[in-house]
């Protein structure tokens, strides 16, 4: 194996962690323990905020649930701490599911507001319930023991905390690099696109929220058995806010940002709490001012946090070549005759404006149908109706005889519809291969658990091989590991097509695929589409470029003012006087 710089840095980090309790003074061990506990919580926020684009100020409350569950059950019922961990996790998951369900189906800002409110509520519940010891808290929590090996000593406990923190880092990284991970990464900024490839966005957001809550709960459980005493103070809303600051300062886009942020905030707080009161000659938590101002400056000048700066000087991971693997299960092309897709009296009204007026047409198996028309004819609205981006006002759309009108896009995708977007919708920071692999989302089955524990590798290998084939198919084999955002527009359009191909669709919807392409690129695209047709793919092509459509389509549907103007073979359409008038204003 060749020397891998990134791996060497990681090994160095682990060696430091192993050596620290043997040599470091007590003070540093205590700090190290807290950094580990905070890192676990911040890691959850990396997934939730940095990756999924949601946020929570109430993580401290989940930490509190983990801590109080074990405190109460171990002191009152002498329950085993390992059992109380499981109970705490179940309790947290139920609560997070409920909160996620009521907030995450709406726009982003309701979740953070709800977490603030609920973080405060829970703080008062902890402080006012007699059975939880009120504001004075609970003492006498037993020490953890693995078999007969007691973890009473902070130095021993250090190993447990960091073993769990590293396991959480590993699991989170695995998750990000997997089928559900790619979908979660697409939630921020690519929601509509992700749904078009079968991702149920609301469900994934809830999963990310539950994942973050469970990590917080584990951290709370560890905290309770480290301190062997709990009171409400460390679970208040201010601590919840500090957890978020850790994730943001460290860099919410990377798992190591969580560790960096937890370290920086912990050390900074230590220093500030020491110096500021002396400087001002008064006691009080003046570090709030510094934290607050620091965050504002950071968001104004380095919104991605500090980790990207460190990453730049660290040795880079080389991309691993994608080995060949068996293809994913395929839909199989049926050589049926008749209509694959039937649009029946489809109508879309925006208030008084009729954008699509009782439109009917059919797409037959294995043909390329061109949908054309002047600007404002209703082509894009029709496209949106078929793909489910817009609900129908009336009428119906049948895919293989099954009504798909007004279903959400992720359900239509499941029924065999793959599409591209007129305005390219790629995740610019992900590689081309990852972007394309997102297209194969519905062809895989592995969930969050399997991904986090790396039990999905066989399927993942097949998915990536599938993505590599689709990428090579559109002629971008050389750009497999480039970030999608670094490609020119023409190539980005091809990535869009590769992603749709990876979905193995029965019907391929292409929204102006030739726009922005140069002459030679258009010719290559036409070749590709013909080859796909030869393999039995059915294609609906919405296009402005007449030469491109005329040479490619088997049949054409012409729209004008929301209605079907004509339908037929390209040669007939070119001779159709009504079409000529619509396009050329009747001058000829």
């Amino acid at each position: 194996m060749k020397f891998d710089g990134a791996r060497a840095m990681f090994v160095l980090f682990v060696v430091i962690l192993i050596a620290a309790p043997l040599a470091a003074p007590q003070f540093w061990i205590t700090l190290g323990n807290y950094i580990g506990l905070y890192s676990i919580v911040a890691l959850g926020l990396v997934l939730l905020t940095g990756v999924a684009g949601q946020t929570s100020f109430g993580q401290a409350a989940f930490v509190g649930i983990g801590a109080y569950t074990t405190a109460y059950l171990t002191t009152r019922y002498a329950a085993s701490p390992w059992l109380t961990l499981a109970i705490g996790l179940v309790f947290t998951a139920a609560l997070a599911l409920f909160l996620g369900f009521i907030t995450l189906r709406m726009r982003g800002h309701y979740l953070p507001l709800a977490t603030i409110a609920w973080g405060i509520s829970l703080f008062y519940v902890f402080g006012n319930l007699e059975m939880l010891g009120g504001h004075t808290g609970m003492t006498g929590i037993p020490a953890l023991a693995i078999a007969s090996f007691e973890l009473k000593d902070e130095r021993r406990y250090f190993y447990l905390i960091w073993a769990i923190a590293l396991a959480a880092l590993w699991a989170t990284r695995n998750l990000l690099d997997s089928r559900p991970g790619r979908a979660i990464r697409a939630l921020k900024g690519g929601l509509e696109m992700a749904e078009a490839f079968g991702v149920n966005a609301a469900r994934l957001k809830i999963i990310a929220f539950v994942y973050a809550a469970l990590l917080a709960c584990i951290s709370g459980w560890l905290y309770a058995h480290l301190q062997r005493f709990v009171n409400p103070t460390p679970f208040g809303i201010n601590q919840g806010i500090e957890y978020l600051f850790m994730a943001v300062i460290g860099g919410a886009g990377s798992v190591w940002g969580a560790v960096l942020g937890a370290t920086l905030i912990t050390l900074l707080k230590e220093v500030l709490q020491d110096y500021l009161p002396r400087l001002l000659g008064r006691t009080g938590n003046f570090e709030l001012v510094v934290f607050g101002l620091l965050m504002v400056l950071l968001l104004q000048f380095a919104r991605e946090g500090l980790w990207p700066w460190i990453e730049r000087v660290l040795p880079k991971r080389r991309p691993r070549p994608i080995p060949g693997a068996a293809p994913l299960p395929s839909r199989g092309r049926t050589s049926e005759s008749g209509a694959l897709l039937a649009v029946r009296q489809a109508r879309k009204q925006f208030g008084g404006l009729v954008a699509v007026n009782d439109l009917s047409f059919e797409i037959r198996h294995g043909e390329i149908l061109g949908l054309i028309g002047p600007n404002g004819a209703g082509k894009s609205t029709t496209f949106a109706l078929i793909s489910g981006a817009l609900p129908l006002t009336s009428g119906d759309i049948l895919l293989r005889g099954e009504a798909i009108g007004s279903r959400p896009p992720y359900e239509i995708a499941r029924r065999g519809l793959g599409r591209t977007f007129q305005h390219v919708r790629l995740i610019p920071t992900m590689t081309v291969a990852d972007n394309v692999a997102l297209g194969a989302y519905l062809r895989g089955t592995s969930g969050v658990m399997a991904a986090a524990l790396h039990l999905d590798r066989a399927e993942e290998a097949r998915t990536l091989a599938e993505a590599a084939r689709a990428t090579a198919r559109v002629g971008l084999g050389a750009h497999m590991f480039d970030t999608a955002g670094s490609l020119p527009l023409g190539k980005q359009r091809l990535v869009e097509i590769a992603r749709a191909l990876a979905a193995d669709p029965a019907l391929l919807l292409l929204d102006e695929p030739a726009a922005g392409l140069r002459y030679l690129e258009k010719q290559e695209l036409a070749l590709l589409l013909r080859a796909l047709k030869a393999e039995g793919m059915t294609i609906l092509l919405v296009e402005h470029d007449m030469d491109f459509v005329m040479g490619l389509a088997d049949r054409l549907v012409v729209m004008d003012f929301g209605e079907k103007l004509a339908e037929g073979l390209p040669a007939d359409i070119q001779e159709n006087p009504a079409v000529r008038e619509a396009y050329l204003g009747g001058v000829v």
Binding site: T49, G53, Q54, T55, F57, F101, I102, T103, R105, M106, R107, G108, H109, Y110, P112, L113, A114, I116, A117, W118, I120, S121, Y124, V125, N128, K188, L191, E192, E195, A201, A202, I237, N238, I241, L244, F245, V248, L280, R282, G284, N285, F286, E287, L288, V289, V290, F291, G292, L293, L294, M295, V296, L299, Q300, R303, P408
Partner: protein, 345 residues
């Protein structure tokens, strides 16, 4: 509970609700125009009370120092931007607005504070000081990020909340303050005792809501803000500067918060960190209105006031729990009635 207590609690609830309603309106205003979830609104309320309390003791309140500091930072930012954009001919006017006016307000407070002016003047000075802080905060902290996502703006808000609480502790100390009531008179209607102070609070609140309605309905600036709330890009194309709209919104909203602070002072003891809970109660009202409807937000805030007042009688230890848990059924109802899935901004 007998009728007298119920009447008393209702009166308390309506009085507090009037204050929360003003806050809820300020929060809806700020969110619709700028997309900012204005968490530090509560600190403006607390600073209103604490500034007035300081003036009543004849002291120069700490707000003055902050006003000066912000005026200098904003002036420096304007200078830097004007020089970089080669617009130095516009600089004097910008400096006058962003530094001159706040410094003039700070100076007049510094000069008048020890003179023990009548209450009305003290209130006017308080309103001026707190109101001036709002646009400065927007200029310094939010305007450079105006195009960022709601999420980033929210994190900035929370960071500012942190900073302002810390500054509050520094300026006003850890002791709480309570300002004397504007009137201690009361009268009886059908056996129910009504205090003039309560009437004053509710009256002021209703008058302000009315004034706000007139401002949005009748004036050009009000219409400009409404246009910005409906369509930011469109308003911009019509010549409404988003920076100006933001600053104006923050001026209005912090004026409302300052009024809240003046009104709440005689009712509760306010500490440097009391603002957060107060603003969150305003938020519960605003969320009931979906962060978009003024009348529903105001009604929701009054509901919060009433629930708070009654739960403090039945379960005073869980008063806050009850008020903030109210948000759960509200969100549940909103989530079940919202069917479409909106793309996050």
């Amino acid at each position: 509970m007998d009728l007298t207590i119920a009447a008393l609690l209702t009166q308390d609830g309506i009085t507090n609700g009037a204050i929360y309603a003003l806050l809820a309106l300020a929060l809806v205003l700020v969110f619709t125009v700028t997309r900012i979830i204005w968490v530090p609104a509560g600190e403006f309320v607390a600073w209103g009370t604490l500034t007035l309390a300081g003036l009543q003791l004849g002291k120069v309140p700490g707000t003055v120092g902050l006003l000066l500091g912000m005026a200098i930072v904003a002036g420096a930012m304007e200078t830097w931007q004007s020089v970089r954009a080669a617009e130095t001919h516009r600089l004097p006017r910008r400096l006058l607005v962003w530094s001159g006016v706040p410094i003039a307000i700070a100076a007049s407070i510094w000069w008048l504070a020890p003179m023990q002016m009548p209450l009305a003047v003290q209130v006017a000075l308080t309103l001026a000081a707190v109101t001036a802080t709002g646009p400065l905060l927007y200029r310094i902290a939010y305007q450079p990020l105006a195009e960022a996502s709601v999420l980033v703006l929210l994190i900035v808000s929370v960071a500012l909340h942190f900073a302002m609480v810390g500054f509050g502790l520094w300026f006003f100390g850890a002791e709480g303050s309570r300002t004397p009531p504007f009137s201690s008179a009361s009268f009886s209607v059908g056996g129910v005792n009504i205090s003039v102070q309560s009437l004053l609070v509710v009256g002021t609140s209703v008058a302000l809501i009315g004034a706000l309605g007139l401002f949005f309905g009748q004036t050009l600036y009000g219409k400009a803000l409404r246009a910005t709330a409906v369509n930011r890009a469109g308003a911009r194309l019509c010549g409404i500067s988003p920076d100006f709209a933001g600053a104006l919104t923050f001026a209005l909203a912090s004026l409302l918060c300052a009024f809240c602070g003046v009104l709440i002072g005689p009712i509760t003891t306010i500490y440097y960190d009391s603002g957060f809970l107060v603003s969150l109660k305003g938020f519960v009202g605003a969320i009931i209105g979906g962060l978009s409807s003024y009348p529903i937000a105001a009604a929701g805030a009054w509901l919060v006031g009433l629930i708070e007042s009654f739960s403090s009688f039945w379960a005073s230890a869980f008063k806050e729990v009850i008020v903030f848990t109210l948000i759960i059924p509200v969100l549940l109802w909103r989530s079940l009635t919202t069917h479409h899935h909106e793309e996050d901004e």
